[in-house]
């Protein structure tokens, strides 16, 4: 035996029944993958990384909807009647072996012409011939080796994201022109009187003149547009003085060259725009693999199996589901609409929606809400609400999701720039008027010089560099923000709302309360032996909590009743373990989940499950109190109220039994009362509140898997660091404010030259980049410093 771990996925092998040659596997799934790969000569897979595999999921009939050409057409990126191109998002791509096997799909089927992985984005692009392999076969094969593609409603609704490269084009043009103009301007900086320069200066000047055109008329266009929009909304944003500066620089330079007065300021102009764009690009830290915009459409399937009136099973797109339709939900499938259970077994996992990972059992006649994932067997249900009308999904018809505009926060820089612009214009005009009466020839010259030198390059750069840097530092600590504005919004927060389940409690490790059960050692051992056979999550938890070793004896009369419990006989012990209903106890189930144990017809008591709070939660609340108003907003019942009251600081408001739409309205009410709200939640049921709040942060145990739309995503492990993160945000703002002072000082120096009429191109070319660079160094250094201190 090579080792104790599964050769395919690296998990511990508990049984020894899955063996090929000398290789151990943990389950049949892993073994099958190995066989498939072997069969198709893809076993190099195991050469690149040790145990690279992923356990495949059961997928019988899951992709039947891919038989429908209407759906296939929507998923394909390109189709010319023969060749198809399709792109899948595959969350399980994680190592070089994954890349290798997915890029060698042609060995599995000759119909695959080409397959290309984009590792950072976890996507696979496949080109294939339709005549040789169908999309369904392709998807099924990829899924069978553990790389299940996520095909969702979002793909079929058909808004493909186009990644804009415009900013990169703009900055590369600006950089190119900046470098060249600098070189071509160099001779003129010094010996303007020299004979040969005098002769050739027009070559340099007109070359500059031509080169600057794409920068002024293409690279800088964003600033003109933003300034125009600002003016239209009667707002003097930072782009207004920038635009003024650019126009002044350009016209002045053109005038100087055409009338042979001087060399112009093209070098400064190109430099200015290059630096500004650099700030913009630095601020744009994007996390390719994260999405901040997902709604339910990303998680719901495209189609489900519907049962027609004459009993046939057909694939039906979920948008087309109507009231009264009967649908079939199989293992591992998501319930797409609200409905009533008709028959079968339903064990639904609503962790997507509520954050609660405990499966809920449903029986026929019970109402089922959309968003649950079926965990065992299959069941039939009747649709009572269409997709858009469902309990969960109607949240998205709320107008907060309709508005395309992001939450508009008046940023700091906007406030400053208002006064800045007014002051600059006043100085420019008064200087011009002064010179008009002293020396008319210099009036226009001074006026433009003031606009040029005060062009707020350094001012505009501080925020992007400081915030961009903090964004990166947060990202390294696994706190991912949508954009830099969120940092500023964070500093204005005065109320923090936490969701309970899944946010301050963990999804994993349920603690078992053993206070209500008494068993002797033998009884514990038989119980553990029995539980070993059950895969039900509750059985696993109780199994883990019993420390005594298992027995080797055989179990007879073993029976597992889905949704109820298990029974079996070991030696002289007759065991029945399960819900109160299973044991015939006439007891109303309280606010907690219990597992009752009966041995030889004698009730021994029950194990109860309690929520485990994440580590450091108490400390987290203590650190936030009393600086922020704290609220717990939960969709659950009041079962945990007492415990929370004990744990949390006084004055923490507790709200229970809130529906998704209630949560949204609760946040809105707070905002109407002048509160600025930070919402921290995790499930789709928090999506409304996250969108409505000033800053919504999603908590996630695995950031790649699932997060509702939000302004930021935080790894659950660092949730207790929130006070520090808020602190860093506050300090960053202070740094930005101090750097504003510095850039004003630079402007005062520049204004001295401008107002006295001494601003030469050389001074401009030195002063403008110098101020920008020192400011950038200052903020980068300080932001690094404060984040290291925390």
């Amino acid at each position: 035996m090579e080792n104790e771990n599964c050769f395919h996925c690296g998990l511990e092998t508990k049984d020894t029944q899955y063996v090929i040659e000398d290789k151990l596997f943990c389950c049949n799934g892993c073994k099958t993958v190995f066989e498939i790969l072997n069969q198709h000569e893809l076993n190099c897979y195991y050469d690149f990384e040790r145990s690279p595999g992923v356990i495949p999921k059961e997928l019988k009939n899951k992709y039947n909807y891919l038989d429908s050409s209407e759906i296939v057409e929507k998923i394909l990126d390109f189709y010319d009647g023969q060749t198809c191109v399709v792109e899948f998002y595959i969350p399980s791509i994680h190592c070089s072996s994954c890349i290798w096997v997915l890029e060698n799909l042609d060995r599995f089927n000759a119909g695959v012409k080409n397959s290309l992985v984009n590792f950072p984005q976890k996507t696979l692009r496949v080109t294939y011939k339709e005549s040789e392999i169908s999309l369904k076969q392709l998807v099924e094969f990829i899924a069978s080796i553990g790389y299940e593609p996520q095909i969702s409603l979002e793909d079929s609704v058909g808004v493909k994201k186009t990644v804009s490269n415009a900013l990169i084009y703009k900055i590369s043009i600006a950089a190119f022109v900046f470098g060249n103009i600098m070189l071509l301007s160099f001779p003129e900086y010094f010996e303007i009187q020299e004979f040969w320069l005098e002769r050739y200066k027009n070559v340099f000047r007109y070359l500059n003149f031509v080169m600057i055109l794409p920068v002024v008329f293409y690279s800088a266009t964003d600033y003109y547009i933003s300034a125009y929009k600002g003016l239209k909304n009667r707002m003097l944003n930072i782009d207004v003085p920038i635009t003024l500066g650019v126009i002044a620089l350009y016209l002045r330079s053109v005038y100087e060259i055409v009338f042979d007065v001087g060399a112009g300021y093209f070098d400064s102009l190109a430099g200015l725009i290059f630096f500004l764009l650099l700030g913009k690009i630095f601020q744009q830290k994007t996390y390719n693999y994260l999405s901040f915009e997902r709604d339910f459409k990303s998680y719901f399937p495209i189609a489900v199996t519907a049962i027609t009136k004459d009993g046939k099973e057909i694939s039906k797109q979920i948008q087309h589901l109507k009231l009264g339709d009967r649908i079939l939900i199989r293992n591992e499938e998501l319930v797409p609409v609200d409905g009533i259970m008709i028959n079968g077994e339903a064990t639904l996992d609503y962790s997507f929606v509520t954050g609660e990972s405990y499966p809920i059992k449903k029986e026929s006649g019970e109402k089922i809400f959309a968003g649950g994932k079926q965990l065992s067997g299959l069941f039939e249900m009747e649709v009572i609400h269409e997709v858009s009308q469902s309990y969960l999904t109607q949240l998205w018809s709320s107008d907060i999701f309709q508005k395309d505009t992001h939450k508009s926060i008046k940023t700091h820089i906007d406030k400053v720039s208002k006064y800045f612009t007014i002051v600059v214009l006043t100085i420019a005009f008064s200087a011009a008027i002064y010179w008009y009466f002293t020396d008319v020839s210099k009036a226009v010259y001074v006026f433009t010089a003031v606009l040029i030198i005060t062009c707020p390059c350094a001012l505009a750069l501080t925020s992007p560099f400081a915030l961009g840097n903090i964004l990166r530092i947060f990202g390294k600590n696994r706190f991912y923000l949508k954009n830099a504005q969120v940092i500023e919004a964070l500093t204005k927060i005065n109320t923090i709302i936490f969701d309970k389940t899944g946010t301050i409690t963990t999804n994993q490790q349920k603690a078992v309360n053993t206070e209500n059960i008494e068993l002797n050692v033998d009884e514990k051992r038989v119980l553990k032996t029995l539980l070993r056979n059950s895969n039900h999550p509750l059985s696993r938890i109780v199994y883990e909590s019993v420390k005594e070793p298992i027995l080797e004896d055989k179990i007879t009369a073993y029976n597992e009743l889905t949704g109820l419990g298990i029974e079996g006989k070991i030696n002289d012990f007759n065991l029945r373990v399960g819900s109160s209903k299973f044991l015939g106890l006439n007891q109303h189930e309280p606010n907690e989940t219990r597992v009752y144990v009966e041995i030889n017809n004698q009730l021994k008591g029950y194990y109860s499950m309690k929520n485990t709070y994440r580590q450091g939660i108490e400390q987290l609340f203590l650190n936030l109190y009393p600086k922020y108003e704290l609220i717990i907003l939960s969709g659950d019942n009041e079962g945990e109220k007492e415990r929370l009251l004990q744990m949390l600081p006084p004055n923490t408001q507790l709200e229970f039994d809130k529906k998704p739409i209630d949560k949204l309205n609760f946040v809105r009410e707070l905002q109407d009362n002048g509160k600025r709200v930070l919402m921290i939640g995790d499930g789709l049921n928090d999506a409304g509140a996250l969108a409505q709040s000033n800053v919504g942060i999603a908590v996630s145990d695995d950031v790649n898997v699932f997060t509702p739309a939000s302004d930021g995503i935080i790894d659950a492990k660092i949730i207790n660091k929130i006070p520090q993160l808020l602190n860093i945000s506050h300090q960053t703002l202070t740094i930005i404010k101090t750097s504003f002072v510095f850039s004003f000082l630079y402007n005062v120096v520049g204004l001295y030259f401008a107002v006295t009429g001494q601003l030469t191109p050389l001074i401009a070319a030195i002063l403008m980049p110098l101020s920008s660079i020192t400011i950038v160094i200052y903020v980068t250094f300080l932001t690094n410093f404060i984040s290291r201190k925390q």
Binding site: E41, E103, F119, P120, S172, Y200, L207
Partner: protein, 67 residues
């Protein structure tokens, strides 16, 4: 000194050519995924050695069918 026209002209043209090549590759998406190619380039060697693996494969297949 008329040579200035030529030297500057040539240097600017060369610079523009390179810049054009850069823009073209940007458009082709060469900079969209900067990680995967670094892994992919290591695979070629493995495929050659795969032929030797193929010989062993027949043995592998037998053992699978036995199971």
């Amino acid at each position: 000194m008329e040579v200035v026209y030529i030297t500057i002209g040539v240097s600017v043209i060369i610079a523009i050519i390179f810049f054009g090549v850069f823009l073209m590759n940007l458009k082709k998406g060469q900079y969209q995924d900067t990680y995967t190619p670094s892994v992919r380039m290591l695979f070629d060697d493995e495929e050659k050695s795969n032929k030797t693996v193929k010989k062993e494969k027949s043995i592998n297949k037998e053992s699978i069918t036995k199971l």
